[in-house]
Symmetry: none
Subunit: 401 residues, 2 copies
């Protein structure tokens, strides 16, 4: 809804404060034996109490049936159309390991792979070699020279790395080199628009250099590149909403995404307790806080139902400390669902709570997918959540006379 | 949904009749002590009975989180995209006092204000002087001559007036003269497009004349103008839907808005009983009636919870008389919510009932935000209500073969 054409007319600065807690992978699905979801199984006295004093609903991150990555899931919650402002895979991979991209840089996701003597792919992921084996191989790629372009390579994990191309006139419209099938040869990168010819040439030059650099190896002796992308040009969140927004997130990807959209990224420690500590220290300095909670998603991705239940209970225990920061509006949202039964992200709608002085008495029985589905906010696109938060904070003028 | 591209193909004239009762500011919010909204607190035996025989839902006037003015709120209910067909502040202010605007006229909202000897603003609203003091001052502005443009000034209330500019070639793309801050000088109107240069010159000439005309006064000695706007070009509602629509509304603004979109505005008295009386007298002459009920909004704006409850109960008592008019479709809708807890318009979704011969047995338990949220119509944009009403009236052909 950042594209609402009169957004600049209706937003106004006020002293009120919004905290948006994003519980990564918040939504779940019923356990086949009990019929209860992770939220329904967990003991969540604080979140249940909060739900009774909140407007509740279910958000659709992108569209019904669409399973979002973390990028679109978060972009939507900050009010950005997640389709229009899609971040490329290379960029998101770079952000995820804390690589600071500059405007105009092109980032690509890289795989070490194994080719045979004829140059045909034997294994697109080089046996998913562990990081301690993959990292030294990736580091050998740092020596590759590409004329007119600065390259840097960054270890991600296992066989994965990020390639960053830096230089003048690098477009992002080009094909990757992964043929998506073993037995085929890696493809040549090809420009899809004239502005990306230099990028394609640089990518191919890098691949040739990699082949040469790794020719003495039996496995992990070649690379595949895909997801070429630049930092997107997105509206500045603070300017758009007339806010001074801050991000408190331990994981690099969320910090990087927040920086891209114009949030001040606050220094914080690795745990959620560290994040809460940072919140309390900085509460006077900003009027919007994005607070990220990761463990629910991680447990869901692992397909570990009870670990996800525990992660939610550990979050619940910290809700009073969040409330101690006395926000005028507290939003509890998720970027997407990660049901343990799916062992991954899913398309399921995501519970949402919005608590302000206006919501007392209007809440639902507890905090779960089912009860939020009965809430006064109904089903709504995640990209509408920011406007609702701003409305509750008194930060929106009336639209139209 | 007047923008549905096949609207002309699917609409058909029939003898069936639709009454759309618009309860201004219908939606509310829970009282913090009881947890019950105005609708839930009021005793509404007739509306509750109607709800049990109606399809029910909740409308979103503009977008989640967006608080609409009365203009967008009504435009949406008549099927007009409220963002695309936004009416200017000057136009709506003129309509609100019954000024008949012609195509091409430019209306602006005016304030009497107070400036010091140096011409700097001391009070942008001239102490909100009461109408009996402000009106004679505004009337002195009638003598101002602007070459090539006919001007007229119209008292609104207190320090407020409407300026209408009439002449050839008057655009509406210009800035207002209100600097929005005391201590600053009034600004000059400036054209934002070449077609509005003449309007800006005329506005500045009028302001100079006002300064001269009021120079003997200590206070209310200057004017500020803003919201320059012309009648919008909107599709004719009757032509679009193949209806003969009539408006029964006591308040000038709603009458003016109805006239702009092509409704026949029926003469009526100042009370809702007068409106019902008019409905019964004219029921044979039209096939669509917009009936406006104001008191719920007025009480909500005052922040008076029990007055809003009473206003709803008074409406409820008159529902049987509405049903006596035997409409084929009765719609009970609101242009926006006005919770007493917010003491103003709000973004909350608005209860909706649609009763026809097809809805008997399909209803909800009663007429409230919560129960309508459980209704068969779900959440829907207010701009969809007209199509649903037409469908229930048998006025829409099948779309597509």
């Amino acid at each position: 809804m950042i594209d609402f054409p009169y957004i600049d007319d209706i937003c106004r600065r006020t002293g009120s404060k919004i905290i948006m807690l994003v519980v990564d992978g918040l939504g779940g699905a019923p356990h086949p034996e009990t019929g209860l979801s992770e939220l329904e199984t967990a003991s969540l006295p604080n979140l249940d109490r909060l739900a009774r004093d909140s407007d509740a609903g279910l958000t659709t991150p992108v569209a019904p049936g669409i399973t979002p990555g973390s990028g679109p899931g978060h972009m939507a919650l900050f009010g950005y159309d997640p389709v229009k402002y899609l971040m490329g895979r290379g960029v998101l991979e770079a952000l995820g390991i804390g690589v600071e991209l500059r405007d105009g840089d092109v980032a690509a996701r890289g795989n070490l792979c194994t080719v045979d003597n004829g140059g045909l792919l034997v294994d697109r992921r080089a046996g998913r070699i562990p990081t301690q084996e993959g990292a030294p191989v990736v580091e050998r790629l740092a020596q590759i020279e590409v004329p007119g372009v600065d390259t840097s390579v960054h270890v991600v994990k296992d066989h994965r790395f990020v390639l960053v191309l830096r230089g003048e006139g690098l477009g992002e419209a080009l094909t990757g080199t992964d043929p998506q099938a073993e037995g085929a040869a890696p493809m040549r990168a090809a420009a899809l628009a004239p502005d990306s010819a230099k990028t394609a040439a640089a990518a191919n030059c890098f691949v040739d250099g990699a082949k040469l650099a790794l020719r003495d190896r039996e496995t992990a002796n070649m690379v595949l590149l895909r997801g070429f992308s630049r930092l997107p040009h997105v509206p500045d969140m603070g300017e758009t909403y007339k806010l001074s927004p801050a991000a408190i997130a331990a994981y690099p990807m969320y910090r990087g995404l927040a920086r891209i959209i114009g949030m001040k990224v606050l220094a914080t420690g690795p745990t959620f307790d560290d994040e809460i500590d940072t919140l309390h220290k900085k509460i006077r300095e900003h009027d919007f806080f994005f607070l990220h909670y990761k463990p629910a998603d991680a447990a869901g991705e692992d397909g570990d139902f009870s670990a996800k239940v525990r992660a939610l209970e550990e979050l619940d225990a910290r809700i009073p400390q969040l409330l101690d920061a006395a926000p005028d509006v507290l939003v509890v949202a998720g970027d997407h669902s990660t049901p343990a039964t799916a062992a991954g992200h899913s398309w399921h709608p995501v519970p949402l709570l919005v608590r302000s002085r206006l919501t007392k008495g209007g809440g639902v029985a507890g905090f779960s997918e089912r009860s939020c589905g009965q809430g006064s906010l109904g089903r709504l696109p995640a990209a509408n959540v920011m406007l609702i938060a701003l409305a509750h904070a008194g930060k929106l003028h009336k639209f139209g006379p």
